[in-house]
Symmetry: C2
Subunit: 591 residues, 2 copies
């Protein structure tokens, strides 16, 4: 059995003390009502729901998994999933950040990120059902006609239906240009969609009345490759003019995958057999349309890394406190007990501080990025929106790529603290490791994030987002140059930031002369960028803590974790720099 | 489905070209017959057995797991396990390295390590049954009376019975001083053993007629803590004077654990209910006796890391060759195919070279260490044996701690190459990740290995093994200082080795003034030591390849992987050095 308690204190600290979210959010267009009182209440309610209805079914959901019935081609989700989804829908959570005219509550993405962390930490498998719906809503909001929005988007916002994104095919994963699913003209302007999609999360389940698939397919006249892909709406049940459910469409789950983790999430093979579909957006522009959802989806997966790391930390800290084994190196600390607890071991504290540095640093980064998406959407003026948009584009591959990779480390360290007990299913921590393993793979592998960061965001877009972000760090360093509380942090941060700029420029020159250098350096560049970004988040956190109303213990913990981060994590940049500079000649051909 | 082919070429290269094993082994006492012809034949046979009888049941064993029947308190192993064990016993593998007077073949440990790698790679879960027997044999060989050896050891060597090591209890894991199992005087000099042991690999199964448990327990007059522990032989079935099986003893499996991986290995809760047991070795000296088996057991777990990494590498390399996705950054490399394979991506090559550097470097290290154990046991003179013994003591925590941790990375990278397909059970690679997760935990966690290296081997034993080993590296660097083939390697190796010595000395001084510094630095010191040790193995491998009869492609691959290692892996020392130097003040108390 594992514990979970929504980390309200640190969420509030990151939101208000570090990021000044209240001030920023209430200044946005339509944000007048988004005061701290309101936002706090929302986050607290999310905590209650997650703790009561999601967290208790995390382990049982893993054990039961989803069941697929071949005869009816239906999927039964684990115990508790349906009830939780009902409560979630009734609480208005399915429309939390959706526009009011679609029935949503139009709350900021920043709050969406905070509550999503809480739901995902409660039960990652379960949280994939609403997460995929969000992506589908987003696509229909941006690209659908009013009629499509009224027909398909609103019921999802209301929590009556759910959505999917059908991209991957057996031969087309990272390279969607290879996809083969066909769309042929049908009746009344509809299309007949034929093909097989794999890895479709929430492709089939028993949580909602209808499922709306957003499907990438090729029109008959489509050019080859990624420029010949269109997007279609394919409902599980066709929808009558009055919005009621009509006939079953020719789309069905052919199987579900047996996976390493997230076993409560139905990962489906979806067969489209001349299923009726409706073009959404422009012909042949489907991939671009899909990519408009990508930032939100990737940020959401980054949040999954944070969520799993948070829950793993809570449990391993608890275990380290309670497990009595051996004595402190400097003599017994609990002489009246048969042994000291694990916290007296410096190496156990190293593992806990590593987790804490990852968790709280990632939280600040993800909320920071989310706040930028809110400014991007509803900032006061065009210049502010453009700047935020650039920063978001730059930070997304870091927020997804680095946070999900650090979640592998974080959950691994949590398990390690348990010793052999961590390997036993009923202790629960090994599930976090298995669940976490998917997040560096889906929504673009870490390699894809790295290529996006270096290839697209830095080189193709000329690093405009990076420039803004680095300037912000520079300004922060300057304004805190004399701040005694940050004396040991500002120097290394400024140095790392400068080195980051220099590395970037050198790399750009190298890639110009040989495009292979991009692939040779991208992964290490991603990590390098991530560690400097987190250093900035940690420096900001210490600065914010000092002037906050937080308790002395809270402030001390922030200082301690930041010192640990700068002394023991940030130096990883040294090895990434060496790897970046090693160049493509150290990656010769393999037969 | 995964593939596995015993890596005979690289095993032979490491044995003969790098380590000169034939020359060393035939010069040992009783080693005259251990020629390359003989050893090669043994390793090849191991390959055949593993490929035919073990590897095909690896995935099915994971899926089936062991079944525990509560009514009879018996365990059924997965399909294929029994047949494989029968063939293994009939082939004489259970006694491969055991003394001839016990019915063994007295082959060198070096060959035992080579064949163990092959069996473990075929099926890690299965391989735990003979591995635990080996440990039990070793203990009885060193500490048993002749009668005990004749009665209990010989049938294990013959493969009719198996053995276990019963150490852990719920409240006593890393800290065995806390164990509570009691031994009270019984009839005819026997003892009644009462208590519960957990995590007992092969504690109960259907592979053999009888199971001999070596159990740690306390005599009535035992002092508290680790100096009051004795070792007992407790057979599942008592043994009659003629060696036939007698009555069932009062020891039984109360449950088996449901684990993250190694599901084909029965991990049992063993209940001893006044079971008849026989003291082995001296009273109260059980822990010391158990520790005499520790080197072999820890080396064996290091080999598990190598084995899993090797199999994961074979499969991910195969996948990268066959999977067609996207195009090379510098234009199509397979223009007649719908896409290029993954090998054209520099980042995929980075992941493959990382694995190869880990696999082949670890293999050289583990065989090197094994060769030292053979010299320790049967070296020509006392001085040679003592020196080898010191080097073994020093290298064991590195061979266990670092190789098992690198296996986490190696199997993770293998899975990552598969993208989302790696997360699907039927593709098999995720099992390697799950199976690998146990090896940093059992036979002493990585933290325990680190404390053993720095606390015991370096500080307590004054680094005598380290001194020999560093001198050897120094001599190697000197003798290859003018070697053009090693021009880019010797400088960094010599520098890293020098820095390692300096770090060690500084650390020793720091620990003298504050014992907590030991715990604060040990883990990073372990990694640092491991990376320099592997750098030495890689430099030796390149030197050996150059003067060998290997093919040009083989030599080139060694050079490439070594260059990769020095450019992109060895620089990890930079961050470990920073962490070591950060000191205990960066690991403050956690409440």
């Amino acid at each position: 059995m594992t514990i979970y308690k929504a980390p309200l204190d640190d969420l509030r600290f990151a939101l208000y003390d570090v990021l000044g979210a209240e001030k920023t959010l209430t200044a946005l267009q339509g944000g007048e009502g988004h005061t701290r009182d309101l936002l706090d209440a929302v986050v607290e309610e999310a905590g209650k729901l997650s703790e009561a209805l999601l967290a208790p079914f995390n382990a049982s959901g893993d054990e039961e998994g989803c069941r697929y019935d071949k005869a009816t081609q239906t999927v039964t989700t684990p115990k508790g999933f349906k009830e939780a989804f009902k409560a979630f829908a009734e609480g208005g959570w399915t429309g939390l950040t959706q526009a009011e005219h679609f029935g949503g509550q139009a709350l900021p993405n920043t709050i969406g990120t905070a509550t999503t962390e809480i739901f995902q930490a409660g039960n990652l498998s379960w949280s994939l059902y609403p997460l995929l719906s969000e992506g589908a809503c987003h696509a229909m909001e941006l690209h659908g006609t009013k009629e499509q929005q009224d027909t398909y988007l609103k019921p999802i916002v209301e929590g009556r239906w759910t959505g999917t994104m059908c991209l991957t095919e057996p031969q087309a994963g990272s390279d969607l240009g290879l996809l083969k699913t066909r769309a042929e003209p049908g009746d009344n302007g509809s299309y007949k969609i034929t093909g097989t999609k794999i890895f479709i999360s929430a492709g089939e389940h028993d949580l909602a009345e209808n499922i709306i698939h957003l499907v990438l397919a090729r029109l008959p006249d489509a050019p080859a490759g990624s420029r010949g892909i269109s997007m279609f709406i394919v409902p599980k049940f066709k929808v009558n003019a009055d919005g009621s459910l009509g006939a079953r469409n020719a789309v069905a789950a052919g199987a579900i995958e047996h996976k390493m983790g997230i076993k409560g999430s139905a990962t489906c093979v979806m067969n489209f057999d001349a299923a009726e579909g409706y073009l959404i957006g422009q012909p042949h522009k489907g991939l671009a349309a899909m990519f408009t959802m990508m930032n939100a989806a990737r940020l959401g997966v980054g949040v999954q890394g944070l969520a799993l790391s948070e829950r793993a930390l809570q449990n391993s800290l608890n275990y380290a406190r309670e497990r009595l084994q051996s004595r402190s190196l400097s003599g017994p600390k609990f002489p009246d007990k048969p042994a000291d607890n694990l916290l007296v071991q410096p190496d156990v504290r190293r593992m806990l501080l590593t987790q804490r540095a990852i968790v709280e640093g990632s939280r600040a980064l993800l909320l920071y990025t989310s706040l930028q998406t809110d400014i991007e959407a509803r900032g006061a003026d065009e210049a502010a929106r453009k700047k935020a948009s650039d920063v978001v584009a730059f930070l997304i591959p870091i927020a997804k790529g680095v946070v999900t990779e650090l979640a592998q480390e974080s959950t691994k360290e949590a398990l390690q603290i348990y010793g052999g007990h961590g390997y036993i299913g009923e202790n629960g921590v090994e599930q976090f490791v298995r669940d976490a393993r998917i997040i560096t793979l889906y929504e673009g592998t870490t390699g894809i994030q790295a290529a996006d960061l270096l290839g697209r965001k830095i080189l193709q877009l000329q690093g405009v987002g990076a420039k803004h972000f680095l300037e912000e760090i520079g300004a922060f360093c300057q304004s805190h140059a004399q701040d005694a509380a940050l004396a040991s942090l500002i120097g290394p941060l400024a140095k790392a930031t400068k080195e980051w700029s220099e590395l970037t420029q050198k790399l750009a020159a190298r890639v110009m002369s040989n495009p292979e250098e991009l692939g040779a350096a991208a992964l290490d560049y991603l990590y390098y960028s991530g560690y400097v970004t987190l250093a900035y988040m940690w420096a900001r956190s210490v600065a914010a803590a000092e002037t906050s109303n937080q308790s002395a213990a809270f402030k001390q913990a922030k200082r301690d974790t930041a010192s640990f981060y700068f002394a023991r994590i940030l130096p990883r940049c040294l090895m990434h720099k060496a790897a970046i500079e090693a160049g493509v000649e150290t990656l010769p051909a393999i037969a």
